[in-house]
């Protein structure tokens, strides 16, 4: 398998075939909670892309240069990764606030939410610690592979949350049965979208 093709497979697998929201059900809370408007969904998607990439990179470094050489990875990886993510989020928030106030106003409210967004921890754990990844390409990722994987996951999150928000905006004006108003119909839509994404299964032998 040639090198660029491998990257392509990792990216596509993370983006579509194992889509984090619809196929793996990670990070559903923002999908149901935030995706009522397209604009907020775009903000959320951008912030997730940013934080997730940094978190995975930092976790990769921590795992390969600190946890693994010291032999404490097996039982310390959960607290270490989550602390890395939490402090990164705080740090990002401070930097953005200082450097670009407009961006902060656009992204600010989502940043604290991202700490408990399971997608970030999931992407970091899967791309760094061996044994969790379902993708049929490698047991252990190098740093660039880890980054490609994470960006794929984050874009997969963004694509779905934006599609979902578009549908929900239209839904506001459509006649929905009384009992299904609000969250229930959102889940039914998610089911249909998920059905569509299942069509990508086994694409390119992944």
């Amino acid at each position: 398998m040639s090198e660029p093709y491998r990257y392509f497979l990792i990216f596509l697998g993370a983006l579509l075939i194992y889509n984090i929201l619809l196929i793996r059900f990670i990070a559903l809370c923002p999908l149901i909670g935030v995706s009522t408007q397209v604009e907020t969904s775009i903000g959320m998607a951008m912030s997730v892309l940013f934080v997730m990439t940094m978190a995975s990179a930092a976790s990769w470094v921590a795992w390969n240069y600190v946890l693994k050489p010291l032999g404490v990875g097996e039982f310390l990886y959960i607290p270490v990764f989550i602390l890395i993510i939490a402090s990164l989020v705080q740090f990002t928030e401070m930097v953005i606030k200082k450097v670009s106030p407009p961006l902060y106003r656009a992204m600010g409210i989502y940043l604290p939410l991202i700490t408990t967004n399971c997608a970030v921890l999931a992407a970091a754990t899967e791309s760094v610690k061996p044994g969790f990844l379902k993708l049929n390409v490698a047991y252990h990722f190098s740093l660039p592979e880890c980054l490609v994987y994470t960006i794929g996951v984050a874009l997969g999150f963004g694509v779905v949350i934006i599609i979902f928000a578009c549908i929900r905006e239209r839904l506001e004006t459509s006649p929905v049965p009384h009992t299904f108003k609000g969250a229930p119909i959102a889940f039914i839509i998610a089911a249909l979208l998920s059905l569509a994404f299942m069509g990508f299964a086994n694409l390119l032998g992944l």
Binding site: C29, L121, T179, I185, F187, A190
Partner: protein, 206 residues
Amino acid sequence: MDENTSGWHEFSKGFIIENPLMVLMVGLCATLAVSNRMENGIFLGLAATFVLVCSNVIISSIRGFIPDQIRIPIFIVIIASFVTIVDLSMKAYFPAAYATLGVWIPLIVVNCIILARAEGFAYKNTVWHSFLDGLGMGAGYIGVLLIMGFIRELLGTGKIVLFDKTIISLGPFNPPSIFILFPGAFLTFGCLLALLNRYKMRKSNE
């Protein structure tokens, strides 16, 4: 309200009135992902309840010493320690279940239910009430997991298998496997929510 009735209230509110999944809509991801079989639901439910009860007790017993500004990182570290206990013991004693649950065990850390109860309840209440709250919320969580698992496994495979024993079998019919696949989770949960809505509307009409 005397001590006993309020204790019962803290325990029982998790079942329906404040059910973490159906009413508060937190911690959805894991529920939808692992509820394709009843057995998975039992394991994940017990693991999450253990973490929930322990972290509630510890947090409420040291709530006098926690500085307000850094309470969230402290909560997360406490929760992460208990999750590590679950992670390692499950890997040792139930390797098969661990293999199917995979990344969902470390992801208990960011399960919103646990942080929400730590922040919203244990931080402000006595140890005994926090213990009951954790137990009740855990029971409500397991309850929904079991219902979802029951519906999905029965419809999707035509039988219920618990610990290698077939408990219920629908006999010869061709089960729609969509229910154990991804869209089935969204569909089942959406319909459950709609049922609950209907029940609530009936009640308010009376």
